[in-house]
């Protein structure tokens, strides 16, 4: 589902990603771990074209991204099949929860409003927030906002979901709510890449763990192997 081949990214003259190669099979969960500044976010953002890279190639959900700039059309096609959930949620504050979820299907995929709404309500139900459909993001807790953000991504029916530290802005209670939703998704066979510092989650859900240190793949393999001995 995802192939990253010899990817290198340069920012301000530094190779912040270097010779990164990894494979994510369909229906599996990969967690990206490693020290702060290791390049996890950058790698994730290269996967859906939010950032460019200098060398290598990415194949994701049937699309190929090569080094350098891409025409906007190509990026839009990739992003329709690749969902992303941010550490800071980034919900649209001027829209209710349900409108956050239905906006992209309506304007990007052209789904008729009533259909988008009923499917949106299903998704909110799935993340346990059906009764908050009309609430504005500002009135929701962080955990609730992140679950709406997940529903918003899922509404586009992405073939791959990318999560960048989805719970680091949350307290343990709320983290648990969000992680439960993600684990549930994993059980359903959703292909995912999750950046996380939470080794418990990695052990629980990850098929594969990739450790990035200073822009390079330090270790990669099954969770039990990589995380053996590590705390959490």
């Amino acid at each position: 589902m995802i192939e990253v081949d010899s990817l290198a990214a340069i920012r301000s003259g530094n190779r912040i990603l270097d010779a990164v190669t990894l494979t994510v099979a369909e229906g599996t969960v990969t967690t990206l771990v490693g020290p702060s500044g290791g390049g996890k976010s950058t790698l994730l953002r290269c996967l859906n074209g939010l950032e460019t890279f200098a060398e290598g190639r990415v194949t994701i959900a049937g699309h190929t991204l090569v080094a350098g700039e891409h025409p906007p059309r190509a990026l839009e096609r990739v992003r329709r099949d690749v969902g992303m959930v941010f550490q800071g949620f980034n919900l649209f504050p001027h829209l209710s929860a349900i409108d956050n979820v239905t906006l992209a299907p309506r304007i990007v995929r052209g789904v008729p409003a009533p259909e988008a709404r009923s499917r949106g309500l299903d998704l909110l139900e799935r993340v346990g927030l059906a009764r908050f459909a009309e609430a504005r993001p500002a009135t929701l807790s962080g955990g609730q906002q992140q679950r709406v953000a997940i529903a918003r991504s899922l509404a586009m029916e992405p073939r791959v979901m990318l999560f960048d530290e989805p719970t680091s802005a949350l307290d343990p209670q709320m983290s648990a709510e969000v992680l439960d939703v993600i684990v549930e998704l994993a059980r359903g066979g959703q292909t995912m890449v999750v950046v996380t510092h939470d080794h418990g989650f990695a052990r629980r859900a990850a098929t594969q763990v990739v450790e990035l240190v200073a822009g390079r793949v330090h270790r990669a393999g099954p969770a039990a192997e990589i995380l053996a001995g590590a705390g959490g």
Partner: protein, 510 residues
């Protein structure tokens, strides 16, 4: 801040405006310079409008720092008769009398003797005889004065006049004519607009038509001059001795032939002038109407002009927002080659006065073959001017939306324009709501500038009515109340709108 204090603060500009009007309207007793003060000062300050004022008072085209004209020389001769020097004071023509007793001792600028002027000011004996001349394009179907009685091919004839002049009074009095009368601040502006086909004709003093005949070769006089009268020198009401001294001086200039010689030098038919002045009948002062009559007569006119003020604001501001928002989006997200042009648009419109922009739209565009009706030029000018300010506000608003919003929208597969339209712009609009509504109130007041291009809105109507009725203070109060009655609901509305937005973004889950 308590609501009451906030309300007080918002309204203060209007009370200030009213206060300024009232001050301007306070009787000038005690301020006026009588003859002895003029003599003591050694200077006779005379007021006139040099803008397009030939042959009366105008800038010498050969020496642009020098004023010339027969009234410049007349003022010098009169001052010499009084044993003092003449000093020129510039003012806008229709408001020159308001300078009396403050910035000027007398007005010498082609002011026709009218009953209203005889009532409100001190008028000298006549010093010049004029008649009204209609001027049109040579190729115009308007070929005689009689033709004014029937509509032209484009409807009523559009006839320009100098606001407050005898020509305006005369043509507005004639209800038998099929004309739309449009008041300008200068006669040369009218001639330009006839040339540019914005106007069908202009009615003006014959000496001005003759003076400008060569410069406007495409135009010609229609019919003979008619409805003649005389010019008078105005002084403040409480200056009987100054006025008498001016009369004496004029008498001496007439008897010893110096006035005739002056007019001959200016090709103004000196002998005929002397005969006309000798036979000129005195104009009796008008009676001052009762306050009730005044309000009854003026209120409908003021209300209609208040409607114009509202129309100008509500038509131009949405347009300003639309243009401003597009410019802001273009500058932040448009193609790189477009950005310098948009930045230039903003800088030019912000860096030049609204008045100048209105002039360009109204007086220059016809030269390029595009004659806009005044109201269209006014709405467009206001919209463009304010669009520059709105675009800066929206640019700041767009920048204030967190970067994560744009990324989240893009990550969902939206195009750049979809992200802008559905995610960034709606948020920016909410962020900038307060400054934008306060700009709306500013624009509402700026509509008064449109009087410079013949649009009669509330302030202009006030100024015209105040001068023709002499009821400066009473009408100022009525006008200020009208402005308040309009702006107050406006600020209530904008505050209601702000509160609604706040509530919506804080609404509890339901």
């Amino acid at each position: 801040m308590t609501p009451a204090r906030q309300r007080g603060r918002r309204c203060r500009p209007w009370w200030l405006l009213a206060a300024v009007w009232l001050l301007a309207a306070v009787p000038v007793d005690g301020l006026a310079a009588e003859l002895d003060e003029v003599l003591a000062r050694g200077e006779l300050v005379w007021a006139a409008d040099q803008e397009g004022g030939g042959p009366h008072v105008y800038v010498d085209p050969e020496h642009p720092t020098r004023l010339i004209g027969f009234e410049v020389e007349l003022a010098a001769m009169l001052a010499a008769e009084l044993g003092v020097k003449a000093r020129f004071q510039q003012g806008q023509w229709d408001r020159l009398p308001l300078l009396l007793g403050r910035a000027a001792d007398c007005v010498i600028n082609g002011f026709e003797s009218t009953p209203e002027r005889a009532r409100d000011w001190r008028c000298s004996r006549p010093y010049f005889a004029y008649a009204l001349q209609l001027v049109a394009r040579r190729d115009s179907p308007l070929d005689s004065l009689e033709a004014l009685a029937k509509e032209g091919p484009r409807g009523p004839w559009r006839v320009g006049v100098l606001t407050g002049s005898a020509a305006e009074i005369e043509i507005r009095r004639r209800s038998d004519l099929a004309v739309e009368v449009i008041g300008y601040d200068g006669t040369v502006d009218c001639l330009e607009q006839v040339r540019g086909r914005v106007l069908d004709a202009v009615l003006m003093d014959d000496c001005i038509a003759t003076f400008n005949a060569d410069r406007f070769g495409e135009l010609r006089g229609v019919g003979r001059p008619f409805a003649g009268g005389t010019y008078t020198i105005l002084t403040a009401p409480d200056t009987p001795r100054l006025s008498a001294a001016i009369d004496d001086a004029l008498g001496r200039l007439i008897t010893d032939g110096r006035l005739k010689a002056l007019y001959d030098r200016w090709d103004l038919a000196g002998r005929q002038q002397m005969l006309l002045l000798r036979d000129a009948a005195e104009v009796p002062p008008a009676r001052r109407g009762s306050l009730a009559d005044l309000i009854r007569g003026a209120l409908p006119l003021l209300l209609r002009s208040a409607g114009m003020t509202i129309l100008l604001s509500v038509a131009s501001f949405p347009l300003a927002i639309l243009i401003g928002l597009s410019v802001a989006v273009g500058r932040l997200h448009g193609p790189a080659w477009l950005r310098p042009f948009l930045a230039g648009y903003v800088e030019i419109l912000r860096g030049t006065p609204l008045m100048l922009q209105l002039y360009a739209l109204f007086f220059l565009l016809p030269k390029a073959g595009l004659a806009l009706p005044a109201i269209v030029a006014a709405i467009l000018g206001l919209a463009m001017n304010y669009s520059a300010y709105e675009s800066e506000i929206y640019r700041a608003g767009l920048k204030a939306v967190p970067a994560g919003q744009f990324e989240a929208a893009l990550a969902l597969g939206m195009t750049k324009w979809q992200s802008l339209r559905h995610v960034l712009v709606p948020q920016a609009v909410r962020i900038v709501m307060p400054p934008v509504t306060s700009d709306f109130i500013a624009l509402f007041k700026d509509t008064s500038v449109c009087s410079a291009i013949t649009v009669i809105e509330l302030t202009k109507r006030y100024s015209v009515l105040a001068l023709s009725t002499g009821r400066i203070a009473e009408l100022a109060i009525v006008t200020a109340l009208l402005y308040l009655a309009m702006s107050w609901p406006l600020s209530l509305l904008s505050r209601w709108f702000e509160r609604r937005l706040e509530r919506r973004s804080e609404r509890a889950p339901g």
